[in-house]
C-alpha cells in the first residue's frame, strides 16, 4: 500500500541516557521511603525504565531497582516480590507510581519488627538520567518500508519510539502507532496489537522482535473509499 500524500515520513530517532547521581542514598527501608517522598520524579522513572538501557542482564530477577535492592541488600524477599510486580505503565504519572511505592513500603514497615539495614557498600543510590535524542537520518514513507527496517533499528531507537514516546505530550502513545493511525482504518488491527504490547516485562531486544512480528504479519485492510 502506498502513502497518502499528506502523511509525513516516519523519522527514526535514537537516544542515549546519561546517568546522574542525585546524592541521595538509603541504607534501610525507612530512609528509602523518606527519599522517595521528595526525590526528583526523573529518578523514580530511571529506576523503573532506565534498567532497559543501561548495564543490566537481559534476564533480570526483578524489573526495577527498588525490588532488586530489597532482595539483594535488605534480603527481604516478600517486599521484593511486592515491589517487583509493579508495572509502571499502570500509573498515569510518576506521582501515582511514587505513592504506590510509598504505600507498599509503609505497609512493610508496619509489618516488620526490626528494621533491616543494608551493608555500607550496598546502599540504594538514587540516580536520575538525562536523555539525549538525535536524528539517525533515516526516513520511511510507507509502513512496509518501516516494517522492513525494524530489525535494524538500534535498541536506543526502540526505547525512544516505544518507551519514551509514551510519556511525551500530546499523544502519550508509541510513535509507531501514532504514525500508522494516520493511514486510517487500514492499520486498525496492527494499532490494536501495538496498544496491547507490554514493554515493561521484556527487554528492548525482545520488544524489537515483537514489533517486527506484529507489523510483519499484518496485511493492510482494504477500505472502501
Amino acid at each position: 500500500m502506498g502513502k497518502p500524500s499528506n502523511i509525513e515520513p516516519f523519522v527514526v530517532k535514537d537516544c542515549t541516557l546519561a546517568a546522574i547521581a542525585t546524592g541521595r542514598r538509603a541504607q534501610n527501608l525507612r530512609e528509602l521511603r523518606d527519599h522517595l517522598q521528595v526525590v526528583h520524579p526523573g529518578s523514580i522513572y530511571y529506576h523503573f525504565w532506565g534498567t532497559l538501557l543501561r548495564p543490566d542482564f537481559d534476564d533480570p530477577e526483578y524489573n526495577n531497582d527498588f525490588a532488586s535492592w530489597s532482595r539483594h541488600a535488605l534480603h527481604d524477599t516478600k517486599l521484593a516480590e511486592q515491589l517487583g510486580v509493579i508495572d509502571p505503565a499502570d500509573y498515569p504519572d510518576i506521582d501515582g507510581l511514587r505513592q504506590e511505592l510509598i504505600e507498599i513500603i509503609e505497609q512493610r514497615l508496619d509489618e516488620t519488627e526490626f528494621l533491616a539495614w543494608a551493608r555500607r557498600d550496598q546502599q540504594f543510590h538514587f540516580v536520575r538520567s538525562q536523555i539525549v535524542v538525535f536524528d539517525t537520518g533515516r526516513r520511511f514513507s510507507t509502513p512496509q518500508e518501516l516494517t522492513a527496517a525494524i530489525p535494524s533499528l538500534s535498541l536506543g531507537s526502540i526505547y525512544y519510539h516505544v518507551i519514551d514516546a509514551r510519556r511525551r505530550e500530546p499523544l502519550w502513545t508509541d510513535d509507531f502507532r501514532a504514525w500508522l493511525e494516520r493511514f486510517g482504518d487500514s492499520y486498525a488491527d496492527v494499532c490494536k496489537q501495538l496498544a496491547e504490547l507490554d514493554p515493561y516485562f521484556t527487554t528492548l531486544a525482545e520488544l524489537r522482535v515483537e514489533l517486527t512480528h506484529i507489523m510483519g504479519a499484518h496485511q493492510p485492510t482494504k477500505v472502501k473509499v
Binding site: 546519561a18 547521581a21 548495564p55 539525549v132 538500534s154
Partner: protein, 414 residues
Amino acid sequence: MTGLLQTYAPVVGEDVIRQLTQLSKPLRGMKVVHVNSTRQGGGVAEILEKMVPLMRELGLDTHWEVIAGQGRFYECTKLFHNAMQGNQAVVTDALLKEYKETNRLNAEALAPILRDADIVFIHDPQPAALIEHFPNRKGKWIWRCHIDASHPFRPVWKFLQPYVARHDASVFSLADFSQILPHPVYLIPPSIDPLSEKNMELPADEIAAICQRYGIDTTRPMMLQVSRFDRFKDPLGVISAYRQATTFIPSLQLVLAGGGATDDPEGEAVLAEVKAAAQEDPDIHILLLPPDAHRTINALQRAADFVLQKSLKEGFGLTVSEAMWKGKPVIGGDTGGIRLQVINHHTGFLVNSPEGAALRIRYLLHHRKHLEEMGGKARDFVRQNFLNTRQLREYLTVMVALTHGADDRVEMTH
C-alpha cells in the same frame, strides 16, 4: 569509513559504530582537551590512548595534554591518590604548596589550548587545581575521577573539594564511588578494549606455548586469578578454596598471576604467605609477571576453564570483564564493581567465603555444559556493557548534554 573506529565494527557491530557517528554530529569541530599526569602507564593513559584517536576520528578536535611536575609534586599526588581511597595520608603544607605551584605553572603553559577549548576533561586529582587559573574559561570543564572516592580521608578531600566543585560537572565510575558536589555528577563505568593486547584473540599455539612455559598441563582443568598480591584480593582464600575443591577434583590446577612486589613491603609479605600456603604444591603456579605481560595474561585467561576474582574489597575490578570477554565464567567476591559484572548464576557466581568458592568450583567442573553456557552469556554481557565503545558513547552523551543545556531532555534537531 576506514580507520580505528571501523576496526571495532566486527567486534561490536556496525550499528554501534553508526550510533557513535550520529551521536557525535553535534560535537563535530569542537575542541576537546584531556589533561592527565602521565602519557604512559596506568589505567587513565591506557583509556586515553584509544579514546583520543577515536574522538578525533568522529570529527572532534581532540587533544591530550600531560602536566609536568617535579618529584615533590608526584609525592603529593601519590598521597592524594591514597587518601582519596580512604588511607590516612598526611600531606604537609610544603607539599600542598608544591601542588598548587605545579598547577599554576602548567596552567601558564597550557593556557593557549585550555582557554578557548569547548570541553576540558581533567582526569583525577593531579591537574584538578588548574581550573582556578581560568576564571574566564570558554568551555565546559569536567572532572573525571577514576578512583573509588567513596570514603576519602577527609582533610585531603576538604583541600581538593573546592577545586573539583568549580568544574561544570564530574564523572565517577559508580554511584558508590561518588561524592556529593554542587554540579551534575555523571556515572560512567569503566571498560575494556577488545582490541588491546590484553583482550585480542590469540592463536591457539601461542596459548599452548605460554602454558608450557609455565609448566601448566593443558590436558587437566585449570583455574586462574589475576591480581596483585594484596590481602584484599584474598589469594589465601583462593588457595583454601582450591584445597577444598581438589579433595574431589585432584587433577585441578591453580594459577595465581600477579605483578612483582619489590617496592611494596606489604605485597612482599602477602607473597611470602601465599608461597607458604601453597606448600610447594606442583599444581599451584605462582607467577610473578612484569606490568607489561598483557599477552601472557591474555593467554592464561584463555587457557583457564574459568576465572576467580575472590576479592574481599574491590574497586571496579576490570579483570572480571577481561575474563568474561574470553568466554569464561567468573567466581567473584560479592563486593564493589564485581557485582555489576558477575550476574549470579548467569555470568558466574558471587561468593563470600573460600567454602562458597570451593562449592562453585566443583559445580562448574561437574557441569561442563552449563560452564560453556555461562561463558557465552558472560561474553555477550561484556559486549553489550563493558567495551570501550560503550564508554565512548557515554562520554559523547555527557558532552552533548552539557553543551546543549542541562535539562532532563536534550533533543538534537540535526
